[in-house]
Symmetry: D2
Subunit: 343 residues, 4 copies
């Protein structure tokens, strides 16, 4: 059994992680931490888990977590994780960070976008960007896995094959993403109240959202050159799900078949990518670790519109973290992640 | 492996049943039928199940279903199931009917409330009311299991112990139930359109809902005498979940401790009943087979208010059907039903 | 023009009041106060009102408000209003309190249920319970109008005629009410977050909600004797609207026609009560000052089920306050309240 | 008083139109038609209007409608209106068509996108595109006003000033729009059921939506040259509202101040356009005739992101129709349209 610790267990992503790990046949939960609720049971905070997960919540102490576990998941606000992780810890244990601290290779870019000092820039060279469809081989060998953001998972996966196969122009790429509210976390803000969210849609952080450099980093890697793109997140009145609608102009002569081939080449063997003919809907992936993908060619403008959908708390957070753990510990990558959707 | 057929696989309850059965380690799905979609794949109708359940849909032929399976689930509108089932079929196979046809012991009561002729009244004596918490022993031996309705499961379980232990007056019982929209099924009615349901609450079938005689039958059984009560269903803007708020006056001298003891006596050993101290919320049981229960005493009126919550598609339909199958086939009753809730 | 002040202008009820008053042809808004947002414009807090209501918010100073206005509306948490209002103010001005402080005639009952000292018990004898359908004549002459609660408006109006005409037993009355989330106000609580409210229904404050004594006070007045009843509020995932489902047993010999006659006698001339044959739905009254009412007789249990619906922010708060102002200032009672519903 | 007829009164847009016209001080409703509900009262179909609009519904007979009215509103599925309108009718009466039939100047383009024969191509030269902010002068003189589509109103208004002032490149324009479900109408389709729409977001009609040529027609007019752009509609789980997020690259040297100036020049005097500094949200315009607009410059990609919001049933349909009527009949353009939003 793999012993697992979760620090930041009572946020929405953290609680989903506890859910998945508690049902994973090769995992034993040994340490759940929540700064705000030390001493309470996990099921006191999430009564849905009564008689399922009744563990008592500890404080955010990575040493204690490390002492009792083989893998430590961090689900914390940015800038906190990088102050906890040390060289010593990742020498012996595997750390999977669901936050932003180890995703960007360049700590200056991190500081520019996150307006915060990075707590352990020296560890960045040890970190692997935990998107299995792109970096599986490195994840397998890594002890510090930076789990991607929710918007970024959905957006990168939709565009990666097109850039890797040089099918689209690197200028003029637009990603318009729509997210459910759980992505905003469980914090008590007026903006997240039911009456402010329901029957409403808005864009936010236009031209300034922190997932932008993360998307650009990975797509630049795919293209083999620096890319600048527009990423616009929107909040819509639902709990879970992200839909990314991605726009790009095709290079001359590129056909629909070329686009289809690029997706097949990259994803045909992927356990959690479904290339589908109908258009993706977030409800089809709700509660699952799937990334659903489809595309349309607009011949009038010689463009491709690639659309991807995920559950932001699963493939966009907790599910992908478990997938990374499965890879790092050489388990079947699907273990504990066979949930299907439904209505 | 138990070979299972589902007739009526593309309604909401039917599709949830397919979902659960396809993940059950002791079950093999052999026959899925849907009158409306013969020849299509199940995942064409429910794209959430792409690459998970791609079986082709057959017609509603119970002989073919029976030939290829050990257990036949029927998820059909009322009055259809009772025309399909025969003495011969239930001699060799187990039939679990998610509809109303075999729930009422008295076919005249059936005809009065359902305004339809019963198709096989002679089989009623073979039928067992499939509420495991009350009739487990008979279910174990039965080949014709009448899976209870969603409202009825939630309401009967909330009141059964109080009547069995003679703690409340049998007159003046009121059940006020609130249901999500999936209970209304997948039919194309104006009333079920998003714009008619969202931001709305309404009562319906007041003093005339067909689940009333079913609730009365089982509670009369508990009380050992005929009971007449008021049951009022309401539709609220959510997909899944039923909350039953049940009101009754206490018999003289009955204390809160007596009430608590009656619930413990009936349910302490039940795998899918959680007696909780906080008030039930439907989201705590969403996606699970749990029935959550709590109560409050109103000393000012000497009353008990018992509140129960279920997922109408799981404990109120497909989950309970699987639970019944597990019992009838001597499997672990929890098999395939270990889903936990979440946000 | 009537000069109007609103203290507590940025809560949901307060903002709806500003909305209504700003469109009232006989009213001029002279003073808007909001403790939390002094110095900001009203439309900074509610951008929906940009270029419509751009007044600057003042502090909660009833003297200043009084100096500049003929009528002062208070939309504050309980126990605050009763510390602001004085004998002097109501000598010259009309005060309409949307909070709870002047609703209960008995300050001891107030303290028992609200766990707070009443700030001005001496003024209680000056206060009128501002439910026009019952107390119109007194409202006309009053300078201190206690605007009823949202649940209470909906519940009292549904049952008042039945008790006034002695048609139901005073024991065993049950009120099961369902409310949208705006009733919980705009405070930043985890419980009011979108992800906690959506796809969920729950009962709360069972056997202990503060609107209970208010309902009992008015229904006891109608019956001419003390009444104790059960009132259970529920929260459902919508913004606006309350549905009250009220249960009572009929006195011997009472017919459906008697019930209908009692409603007609009380409400036929009422501008904001609609006695309807179909069952009420909250969307039919959304955005309006209507109270919609219907009933069904359950002959099996000799009971009446009376169902009422209102918009909790309009007839349940701001609209009723304007209706009371119209009465107190001898305007057409409908003035400023002719909004119709819709989808 | 202007006598008004509405043909197609019981769709969502039609009913909203009835709502607005019934409250308009210069209008008398003389003829309401609904093919499906002839002989019923309007308030039978929309009980929200009980005692407000109880007119009896007639059949879709434009001659009768014309005989009793000065203005005839058509709210019909495409291809029906153009078979009803004649030269004779628009000689004497004003026709305002909320459908698509008279929006496109070119009947071949119409047939290509709508797959239907146009019923009266000879009348196209009489028709004016009823977007007051662009064509007010012609509307004033017209007897056949083609009320714009909902998506198109929101999208054209967001981009029109930028093209008119030559600030953006005409290639690479992307419009990503999000709509509530009422835009899909009141038809009984599985896709519009609550359980299919709630907790879901999807794109649809990608690269093929019929509002595309309408947007291109008007923006080409603004630019003085042919434009091809990408328009992608999305359905989100809310009833009302459209948000259009529009992307374009800036011409060399264009600044944020230039963009702001272009909007001010076009819209500063407009009664229903609000140029705002915060980002638009659909709830701010819900129930109103406002178009809210804001923009951001993305210097990293030298792009402008213009975001507009409307209520699809008001400024996107019925409200704009009333605005057009007000203009055509030389009334105050705001008459009957002073609704404010709220929560």
């Amino acid at each position: 059994m793999i012993k697992a610790a979760v620090i930041g267990a009572t946020g929405y992503a953290g609680s989903e992680l506890v859910n998945l790990l508690s049902g994973h046949k090769d995992v034993e939960l040994t340490y759940l931490a929540s700064h705000s609720y030390v001493g309470k049971r996990f099921s006191d905070i999430y009564p849905a888990y009564s008689q399922c997960v009744d563990l008592t919540l500890q404080d955010d102490d990575i040493s204690k977590a490390s002492a009792s576990s083989d893998v430590i998941f961090l689900a914390l606000p940015h800038a906190l994780a990088s102050r906890l992780v040390t060289k010593e810890i990742i020498k012996e244990k595997v750390v999977i960070d669901l936050g932003a601290d180890y995703r960007l290779k360049n700590s200056e870019v991190y500081q520019e976008w996150y307006k915060a000092e990075h707590g352990s820039p020296a560890l960045l060279e040890d970190a692997v960007y935990g998107l299995p469809e792109i970096h599986r081989a490195e994840i397998k060998k890594s002890h510090l896995i930076a789990n991607p953001g929710c918007y970024t998972t959905c957006s990168i996966l939709a565009l990666y094959p097109l850039l890797k196969h040089d099918l689209i122009n690197t200028e003029g790429v637009v990603i318009d993403a729509k997210s459910g509210v759980s992505g905003a976390g469980r914090s008590e803000k007026t903006d997240n109240l039911f009456c402010e969210v329901n029957e409403n849609v808005k864009a936010y952080s236009v031209a300034s959202h922190r997932h932008t450099p993360e998307i650009e980093q990975e797509l630049s890697y795919a293209a083999g050159k620096e890319i600048r793109l527009i990423f616009t997140p929107h909040l819509i009145p639902m709990q879970r799900g992200i839909l990314s609608t991605c726009y790009a102009t095709l290079k001359e002569g590129v056909t629909s078949a070329d686009v289809a081939a690029s997706y097949n080449e990259c994803y045909a063997a992927e356990p959690f990518v479904r290339i589908i003919s109908h258009l993706p809907q977030t409800r089809y992936v709700r509660g699952t670790n799937y990334f659903d993908l489809s595309f349309r060619i607009d011949e009038r403008t010689n463009s491709v519109i690639a659309i991807g959908a995920i559950d932001n708390l699963i493939k966009g957070a907790a599910g992908q973290a478990v997938q990374n753990m499965n890879i790092a510990f050489s388990l079947d990558e699907r273990e504990g992640l066979t949930m299907k959707g439904g209505i």
